[in-house]
Amino acid sequence: MIEFEAPKPITQQSFVLKTVAENMMRPVSRYFDENEHQIPWDYINFMHMAMKATGAGSLAPKEAPKKDAEGKERPRIGYQMLAFMLEMLSWGDVGIYLCTPGGGLGAAAVQANGTPEQNVKFLTRFGEEKPAFGAMAMTESQAGSDTSAIRTTAVLDQEKNQWILNGEKIFVTGGQKSLEEGNGLVVVWATIDLTAGRAGMRPFVIEAGTPGIQVTKLEHKMGIRASDTASLVLQDCRVPYENILGSPEVVQEKTTTGFKGAMATFDATRPLIGATAVGVARATLELLKELLAQQGITIRYGLPRQKLTSIERDVIDMEVMLRSSWLLVIKAVWMADNRKSNPKEASMSKVRGGDIVTKITQKAVEIMGPLGYSRDLLLEKWFRDAKISDIYEGTGQINRLIVARNILGYSGRDLR
């Protein structure tokens, strides 16, 4: 039955997270924007404690669905919980949210590609006493959306049964915290055969403290400044054989399993980027309406379009964009929870999330005029924070390509 009632665990979670967002994020939003690369430890320590206590924030693991008192399977809502969590925290501050401890994209890659043993081995650390971080390193200076162009290599030293990694990764979200602040990890995508393209791509787990990997640069960015974006250099970085994700049989064969694993990771994480985009957009729209109300401008819903003022039209359009994009996110994560294949819906929610948050934040700054452009308000910050949603985890264009291939029934070869 088609319904739109948030389940109780989600409304309870939202209630708590709103308090966190209001009290631990918003008051320091501006500070961590203006003091780039300072780490919001108060938020991190609090979230680590809270998430450990409640189990919130873990990417729905591959466990059997829980049963209720009568032994009937309860519907899975893990991804939905996560989407709501990310939306609310991004409503608080998306830069600070990106500093949330836990496995992040690194853990997502482990879950999408790893064996059950690898899941236990690599993910347990995120529930330990001290906060730890996870990151995923894919992008290189010559390989952005075209991930198969990566040049970082992994060579097997059969004598010592170790992989030796060499190369340079850029734009690693949370890379610095993952390697230097606590017992975290980075999932590095490398090729075991430079001539094989996609078929050579494999994910490797590199744990904090491993010799041969170094943070060489922290980027200075337009927005999300609280979050570190690192360059990593791998120089004869040795990891045990078992740190290659996936079952041993497939890891040596030259199949595109690795590449497909990367893409499967994205099916899970793209709607979540959509959720963060919606969070920023909602923060913006709420503040805009509040500021307009202070000027005596309220929005008259229900009027024919031609009778609306220009500001009313803008705000109503923004509300349509915001609400419908949020529902696209919910549909995509609902599909993930119900184990329905969702690459089209995942990319749609990412495309539209990136689109609407850039439009809404741009428009909000415009509508508030000189006030909007001032750093006295957070509107200009959200304008800067918003843009990344249209870029990371696959640009809006790459995701359009994925949607297009899906609706046209085309492969990557048919539609390049």
Binding site: M1, I2, E3, F4, E5, A6, P7, P75, I77, Q80, Y301, G302, L303, P304, R305, Q306, K307, I316, D317, E319, V320, R323, S324, S325, L327, L328, I330, K331, W334, M335, K344, E345, M348, V351, R352, Q397, R400, L401, V403, A404, R405, I407, L408, Y410, D414, L415, R416
Partner: protein
């Protein structure tokens, strides 16, 4: 819980409606538009699918409970076949559903069974007015109290089947509030104009009507003595318009996809060009976004959520924009062929422009 899965019953209804849209409406669509006329048997067959009947409780002659979600699902499927045909099939609902939502017990007992139990016959409603600033909440058609009667005066337009209709609901402003009045066609003071010629929906007969002091017994006020709340009726109008816009847009998008996959250009199919593929991706994304928004609004109306009215308005506004965007692009993707009336996309584009102003011609 969240769920995007229709019930088994809804799936069966969708299948039935889809078959009618595919086998009956779509094949008749082109000629009906050219000739400005719908075959009556086509309308009757659509009526026999029983969408309205399934929304009406047994005591009033139907066999089910009203559900906006079901209505939205069915209307999208039907409009995929043909918009004018769908509006014609749904026209008796313009009269019956407001009575079901807001009518007094007497009004329901008197008016619903004959409509619901019978063959399709023209019952309709008049709400839209021929003014650029037409606003359903600030109507210029006025109802005034005169003893035991109301007097209706004003002008309406876009009234489907007004010429043939037996009864109609006329919406008018009573002391500044929009109220519905059950009006018998042919009363003194009612003057029905020539069929109106519009940009789209050529096959649907619509008329302007002038009301010059038309006397209505006071018991004919919708809801009886105390009248009714107009907002759920308006919201149901918005939902219907939104669902129909989804159907027309889906039709246009699918046609554009098929064409683009078939059309050769520079040694590949035109769909293999990113400029076209990206347009299609955006059309599909927009369509899906407005679809889930419409579903949520319908669900809110069904469950009596306070925000239902606002959400239905957002869905309608979004759907009107989306339909214009999607149908325009469908024409663009077909290029010169899109402009030729042998292909249906130009018709859908003419219809696509209409949703922003046609709310009031269907109700769910």
């Amino acid at each position: 819980m969240y769920s995007f899965e229709p019930t088994e019953e809804q799936k069966m209804l969708i299948d039935t409606v889809a078959r009618y849209a595919h086998s009956n409406l779509r094949p008749a669509s082109h000629d009906a538009d050219e000739e400005g006329q719908l075959p009556i048997n086509l309308i009757k067959k659509g009526w026999e699918l029983g969408v309205l009947q399934a929304s009406t409780p047994e005591i009033y002659g139907g066999f089910g409970e009203h559900s906006s979600v079901t209505g939205v699902l069915a209307a999208e499927e039907m409009a995929w076949g043909d918009l004018a045909g769908s509006l014609a099939v749904m026209t008796p609902g313009l009269f019956a559903l407001p009575i079901l939502f807001a009518g007094s017990e007497d009004q329901k007992n008197e008016h619903l069974p004959p409509i619901v139990e019978g063959d399709w016959s023209p019952f309709t409603a008049a709400i839209i007015e021929p003014r650029y600033d037409y606003d359903p909440n600030e109507l210029k058609t006025i109802a005034t109290v005169d003893g035991d009667s109301f007097l209706l005066s004003g002008e309406k337009s876009y009234v489907p089947f007004a010429q043939e209709a037996k009864n109609l609901i006329v919406y008018a402003s009573l002391n500044g509030q929009t109220q519905g009045f059950i009006v018998q066609n042919g009363l003194a003071g009612i003057c029905i104009g020539e069929p109106q010629k519009l940009l789209g929906i050529h096959a649907l007969p619509v008329y302007s009507i002038k009301f010059d002091g038309v006397r209505i017994p006071s018991k004919n006020r919708l809801g009886g003595g105390n009248g009714h709340d107009f907002s759920p009726i308006l919201a149901a109008n918005w939902l219907a318009t939104s669902a129909l816009a989804l159907g027309v847009s889906k039709a246009a998008m699918e046609y554009a996809i098929d064409y683009a996959k078939d059309r050769d250009v520079f040694g590949v199919k035109v769909a293999q060009k990113q400029s076209i593929a990206f347009m299609l991706a955006e059309m599909a994304t927009e369509l899906e976004a407005i679809r889930v928004l419409t579903w949520e609004a319908a669900w809110m109306m069904d469950t009596g959520k306070v925000d239902g009215y606002k959400e239905a308005y957002l869905a309608y506004t979004g759907a009107a924009d989306m339909a214009m965007m999607v149908t325009d692009r469908a024409v663009q993707i077909l290029g010169g062929h899109g402009y030729i009336r042998e292909h249906p996309v130009e018709k859908w584009m003419r219809e696509g422009r209409g949703f922003a102003m046609l709310s009031g011609m269907a109700i769910i």
